[in-house]
Symmetry: C3
Subunit: 358 residues, 3 copies
């Protein structure tokens, strides 16, 4: 009852809602103790992470044979999803699209606003509501910060609420990327992230993946973080304060070579010069933040090398042949964890058969 009252109140005024603390917002995007919308990486606690990882593991195992794959592709065969990707994206789009197809969801795509009614002067809110008229799930990437959240907020006000999944909004949130990154740490590191040293390299200032990943480390005991970047691209203060508050040890350096030997996981990132306004990155010598074939001799035998992809020159292609290079598996993990998330949102996660039981 209390939550309902809160939701009613916060549901009336977007500006008030938007300015609220994230903890106050979260109940608004859940129903019956289950995520209804996936908007922020803050929505994932340890129990939910572990559960979704188990669902993803089960999905990929049971779909190894045709019988299992056919069963899974019936789970949501009665549902339809809309992928509304206004910004260019290959990998996130395809990952979601194929996650939908694994579960049997029928899909519609809007990937380009030039084919859209927005040309006729329609408001973005009306456009999204139109999409919701035809489907049961909206997955969206949008350049306007906060617009995905606003969509979910808005959808929860109307009579036919349709779940919204954030496929990347502005430069702030990309929760399913965070999810697949932690899932990769969970799968590829023996014992998962606990007690491990995770080295993040590159543009830590603007890379939303390293920000989310740092945040989610609060869910694991004994994690040590090392941030490797040029001085101009250091991790922002808000994350550092968060880590201090949660007693997660970290240190910062611009000497990548010196920290390689202690890393359990190395998370490489691209310098995102499409977000670069001052053009500062162009004058940097970035080669010191690259991972080369010769570095394979230096890192631990069980270390893993991650990258959210796409890469430019951060990792030499020959590194891909080493078993410790897990970034291609990381990419594929994204499809499975997204399928797990969608099955969970629709409440069919309990119907995924155990491997060998089909």
């Amino acid at each position: 009852m209390e939550q309902t009252a809160l939701m009613t109140e916060m549901g009336r005024d977007w500006d008030k809602f938007h300015a609220s603390d994230i903890a106050r917002k979260l109940p608004f995007f859940s129903r019956e103790n289950r995520l209804h919308d996936c908007l922020f990486s803050q929505q994932f606690d340890r129990a939910l992470l572990d559960y979704l990882f188990a669902v993803a593991d089960r999905l990929r195992a049971v779909t190894q044979n045709k019988t299992g794959a056919d069963t899974v592709s019936q789970l949501l065969a009665h549902k339809r999803a809309m992928l509304y990707f206004v910004q260019p994206s290959t990998r996130t789009f395809l990952s979601f699209l194929n996650a939908c197809h694994i579960l049997g969801l029928k899909t519609s795509e809007i990937r380009d606003t030039s084919t859209s009614s927005e040309m006729k002067g329609e408001s973005p809110e009306d456009t999204v509501r139109t999409f919701s008229s035809y489907v049961d799930l909206i997955i969206m990437r949008h350049p306007t910060p906060g617009f995905v959240e606003k969509t979910a907020w808005f959808m929860n006000r109307i009579k036919r609420p349709v779940p919204v999944i954030n496929g990347g909004s502005g430069k702030d949130q990309h929760p399913t990327q965070a999810l697949l990154d932690v899932y990769t740490l969970h799968r590829s590191l023996p014992g998962g992230p606990e007690g491990k040293t995770i080295v993040m390299v590159g543009d830590l200032k603007r890379g939303r993946t390293v920000r989310s990943l740092s945040y989610l480390m609060k869910n694991y005991r004994g994690v040590k973080l090392v941030f490797v970047s040029p001085p101009q691209l250091r991790m922002e203060a808000d994350i550092l304060e968060f880590l201090q508050r949660h007693a997660i040890p970290y240190r910062e350096t611009d000497d990548f070579a010196s920290v390689m030997p202690e890393a359990d996981a190395i998370y490489m990132t691209r310098i995102q010069d499409e977000h670069d306004q001052a053009e500062e990155s162009k004058s940097l010598d970035l080669s010191r933040f690259h991972f080369r074939a010769q570095d394979l001799k230096v890192i631990k035998p069980n270390a893993i090398i991650m990258h959210p992809l796409p890469r430019r020159h951060e990792i030499e292609p020959v590194v891909d042949d080493d078993d410790r290079a897990v970034f291609w598996r990381q990419e594929r993990n994204g499809m499975w964890i997204r399928a797990a998330l969608i099955s969970y949102i629709f409440g069919v996660d309990g119907q995924i058969p155990a491997p060998g039981k089909t």
Copy 2:
């Protein structure tokens, strides 16, 4: 036999066919007393309207649960549709696409001629025939007046005729929009349109939706029409003559406020300045033809407010929260009535299970 002879004759010469009276054309687009192609709103008589509404009602009811939805999605799982939308369209495209998916049709999309063989100098007729080679149904929107009709005419001449559904051609015909509008009157007005006063507002001169809707009112007894527009954008003479001929009372005014209280249905439209050649609409004060929150106090308690969408400023967004604002339901009705139409064209309408029987 006679019809066959007529069809043979008219099938030879497009110009002769095109210039014929519409009544003479209709048999050409039917087979075994059933629509084969859906091109004109003149193809719908009262019996067919009522039947399609019943099919749409049954489809939406039976698909409420998974068993029903799964059954329906098998009905046309062996068929493939092509959506050929050369003009920008979000809503009509998505509505048809999801209607296909509800019935299990596999879909192909061409939404942009730049990816097309038209670049290689192919004729439009060859392009469409190519599409027909791969699919069992063509749904098309095309800017060239008469081209959708020509496509259907042409398809009926070849050995592998594929049904054609008009998703909007030029500024003249958009029959499934007319269908969903009448379906909305049928669903949302107690007793349907009969005996009701329907007020149409905005650009009546160029809006094809209000033209088709006016035409279809001949199927209902006791309907009164009120046309509200600036003098420059009055309903065209051909429709007014049609109404006189069928003894359907109408009147024209530019005073929206004065007619609000008597309306059972208010059909708002956008000023279509993308069709505006003389730029006359820019100099008009359109605010007198808008519906505002305060107007909700004036209209009947059971009145309904419709809009073909997208809207600009014709209806204040806060109006959406009122139960009498049915335009979002109208949009969704479009998907269901299109699914009903497609199931009817393929003759599987009789196989839709009754709700509760799956």
Copy 3:
């Protein structure tokens, strides 16, 4: 074992591989005596051609009724395909897409690099590997000569090899077009191509379809070829030498009218001025290489007229009504033979039910 060693060696160095003789490459793209990738028309020998034709015949026959079509659409319902078409293409794209849908494959499309990560500076190899992460089959058309081959070569090196089908690469290879052309000769000529006179007309110099088709004629006894073109657009020397080596009789002429009466099959082609660098074709009188209604009186009663489409003015539209004009059936054959090829690559060709057995 030997093949494995060879593959290991050739798998290391793309440049060495690429420069190898095609016969040495072929084993690299097969697994367990079955095509794994379809890249070159040289991969088809007579036994494989005949087998694929039989599979295609069976597919089209069994899918005539719903039960058969439903069965076939379950065969690969657990698989996902990516259609990566960087170059404009309507017909090949739709043909493959619907071939996938016939077999139940779920599909993802990339038809425009502007939505792609290539914008973010990713290498083409990484882009393609990303696609492979999400799907079980890649069908691609790419303007860069050799890139489709390189993709398949690369995919076979990694741990999760995904079959690659060439949908047209540069101006050299388009093996499924060759396949559908021979399939059309097989279906539409009584007794197939053996002992027949095949007349190829138009731009023989740059048309890859006529080049592949000429090559594949080595699989049939008694074929005679006649090449009809302007002197500037004669068949290239490599194909003529190939024909001499295999004792396939041919002759060249620029007098189309003189050879019409002896043709069993006339293969018309378009002057591909999009490949035209010297603009030489604009100064040619091409009308002598067109097929007109009056020519129907001259050709044999059982002759067939083919065209890879799209056409411009090479064939008068009224010719389409003649039963000997098989180019629309040829187009449709493309969808069926591609479905056959895909079913074969996945090894489900043996599971297609015989007509009447569903």
